[in-house]
Amino acid sequence: MTTLTDTAFTALQLLTQLDPVLWSIVGRSLWVSVLATAIACSLGVILGAWLGVARFVGRDGLLTVLNTLLALPSVVVGLLVYLLLSRTGPLGYLGWLFSLKAMVLAQAVLVLPVVTALTRQCVEDAERSHGEQLQSLGAQPWLRSVLLAWDERYALLTVLIAAFGRAISEVGAVMVVGGNIEGFTRVMTTAIALETSKGDLPLALALGFVLMSVVLLLNVCISALRRWRQRIDGSGVDPVQGMLV
């Protein structure tokens, strides 16, 4: 108990004294995850919205693959990206391995199926409920997908937050492709794993606090967003939130 209390106290000191090592790790983590989420959302929302409206041969098979990818282990993503970026891999010429770019790529790959699948579900529900009304106004599938995605934009913001939560809290992929190099590719999750194994519990715990705070902040954002939506247009139903819970 004493060890736990002492560790927590030291961790708080590191946080409040703005320990440069700790906060550089936090900054790097946020940068990598924000960029990966932005890339994944840019592609995933477009792809998901299109899948929500388009009907074509093989769609069911594609959705099965997509839903399977939701459970993709992050270390497997790390391994695949590693193979792509390794010197003998197809993207080896980029020289990205053990860099932040590789970590961004790995997290984007990890988060892309989440964004695509949740967006697809959200837009497909909207299409089922009122796509016909847009169709009656002459909106073709691609335009319907854009309009429905826009109409469900608050639910999609929840998707974005969920995607960021998935990105920032994963450890396997960034460990494999980033290498956890101090001052260069070390992020919160990889640092927690390393410092715990080294026995430097205060730094690990302080990073844990920050990580938990980020996740807590995300949940606060989701709640605030939902309350704001209810106030603006009186609708409280959020299909994506329902899926996340």
Binding site: H130, Q133, S136, L137, D233, S235
Partner: protein, 233 residues
Amino acid sequence: MSAVLSLKEVSVQFGAYRALHGVNLQMHLNERVALVGANGCGKSTLLRLAHGLLKASSGQVSVAPQVTQSMVFQRPHMLRTSVLRFVVCGMWLQGTPWRTAHERAMQALARVGLQDLAERSARTLSGGQQQRLALARAWALQPNFVLLDEPTSSLDPHAKREVERLMADWIATDGVSLMFSSHNLGQVKRLATRVIYLEAGRVLADLPVDEFFNRPLGDSHPEAYLFLKGELG
């Protein structure tokens, strides 16, 4: 008189379920056709077919080239935008430039009495106001053939009366052709010139409105007669 809509031996099938079966129908300019019948008899399917939202499994559907259609649904979906933009968006989808659509959209809102709510979120409107907004959007598209799927069935009596008044006003001023489904026989009497009675996807009666309500149908159209008496099923 030229036909604006023509259906020849049209059937619509959803898997094993046949929603429409061998329907023959011709509708002419300025006609106001009411579709009546029990739930699931094919009214909505027929409206969607006429509007091009569904394809016939067999038979032929033809709409005259001069026809411009607009459809109002039972529960209009309110886009997450303002009342004005809701109308403007509909016009934009039909090819009107966004900027030039505003004036006509405001006229449409004034026509249904929603001009003062133009900047309000469409989703905060009451059910009756939402249906009036849907009518405004349909009117703004300047159609000459309007299809309405049970436009007043989910409204309270006051809102029902208001929406029906707007429909009557539209008919009187613009002379549009109308096809609507309804369970409200009083409304059918007031708005329609012709009644089509459907049962299990088949047209069992297709009569001028006076004949449908005033002629003894017991012998010629027994199912329609029972429906009118409220004794069907």
